[in-house]
Symmetry: D2
Subunit: 170 residues, 4 copies
């Protein structure tokens, strides 16, 4: 059984909430992952809008669920139960541009596309929008590191999955 | 147009993600709201499990989405655009019992039932489970207060909606 | 070198910020730990006040720094470098009563006293106040568990330290 | 009474915790604000290290306390009680570079310097270090906006305060 099948099964196991990890969609430029994110009180601040650091969490949810749908969820990597040493993607660099505020009860969408694939790193572009209008745009570079902190090469399965995501985009 | 219809429309407007606010389900004892919550890195701590305060946020998501499905979302109350003065439900008292840990990538369900309805308050019992096993149980009393801090009586619509939730439960 | 001395040194090592872990104070009824907590935007919500789950984090900071001043910081327990197996205090039960709101920029104080000492558990009463007025009161029971989830007896050092905190209180 | 005096009084009012807002220090290149930040469980994740979005909160604490020591705290701006219309600094753009992980119980320092002053914006460079070693470096541009979302020119007091912070740095 490949990583991908295991991942699909893990998702399918909870068929009560089919969209819980968002969806991978094909758009004219390639493939993209879309995750809906509801704004709750926990995400807002006394300025009446979404707190800026909340978008960093939203973006991480998008990346995590993209990995999940690619069949490589975080826990298996951390546990090493994908038969490699325990590892995790960590953020090496990120930049966020905030275009307009979002508010309590808004239903946002986090769109994640793979921009670039390095030996041990992946750079993603993530756009967060509200009813079709862009709220925030981010570029995030993550690196696969072992629990001891050593960068690890992306294995063939992960690499193939990411490439499938990004290949038609150019 | 009643509050309930407005709320339903607001939810229906985003028909790409039909389950995003969870579901109201009928069980043998009455009605209950169920919201799926995925555990992301943001919810965990260095102990390797879900941080205890994260469950407090999960419970609040459940209450917020129950209100949403009842047609009374938080933003309209805060804005006063439901034609009353701006108001919000605030937590007056809460207790949480933690039965077992949850971990990264787990898909939890927050079940919320209405336990008791006061003049300006609602007491809810909320159970958080993981693959059918109870992780945490909470009892939370919220009070409707105006922006100036004055407790407000629940209006007839809100009261009726909550009663429909709780009535057969006894 | 005892645990207590190691802890004191670890705190003393950063003598640029002597109060960073709060203080243990003697009051008429016994001893208590006081930690100042500033309210930042991250702690507030769109209702204009401190988000209720933020108090749960504030209380945990108080408990963590009480342990630190008692010479038993969390990382050493997690690492097992206090020469026992890796362990952590986890919350088993908590209740919070909210008396009045706090706001952005407020300087709160978290007062923690030891209420009861069990074989593997400690129950603490924590009061959060704002300029001398009580904002929130909590009772929290924590249990020492090993990384594998097994409850562990509090060792003699930890027990003695907690008893010194609580003994004159009755 | 100037803004600066009011701010100083507000800080002085709580003379039990003199360093709670950090310190403004003079270094060879100009002035800088330093804020100590303790890592608690709430800041860590299941990878065993500080969660990347926590640094975004730490940086905001540094900026907030720099403003406080400059005599311009956030609540007075939000309330408009500095005799201008209600306003707040919001983040327009931020980039974070992560050099190495930090862990539970670490005592970090957030150093903030003013890099550039625009008509309605301020760009800050913020370095987060752990025992003298750089953990993370950020550049953040904030804009002063009214509650209705309109950018506001920095007033003379705020401008003078920031210039004093940055002037000798070039």
């Amino acid at each position: 059984m490949t990583q991908k099948e295991q991942g699909a099964n893990a998702v399918g196991a909870d068929n009560r909430w089919p969209d819980i990890a968002g969806r991978i969609e094909r758009d004219p430029d390639g493939m993209r992952h879309v995750l809906p994110v509801r704004v709750y009180f926990e995400d807002t601040d006394a300025g009446g809008v979404v707190y800026h650091a909340a978008y960093v969490r939203f973006a991480e949810r998008g990346r995590t669920d993209l990995l999940r749908l690619l069949g490589t969820d975080a826990r298996r990597m951390i546990d090493g139960s994908d038969s490699r040493e325990p590892a995790a993607f960590v953020v090496r660099r990120m930049s966020f541009d905030f275009a307009r505020p979002a508010r309590m009860d808004d239903l946002l969408e986090v769109v994640t596309i793979v921009k670039e694939l390095g030996g041990a790193s992946v750079t993603l572009v993530q756009t967060i929008s509200n009813a079709g209008v862009r709220v925030c745009e981010a570029e995030v570079t993550v690196v696969l590191v072992s629990m001891s902190g050593k960068p690890l090469r992306l294995n063939a399965d992960v690499r193939a999955a990411f490439l499938a995501q990004s290949q038609s985009r150019d």
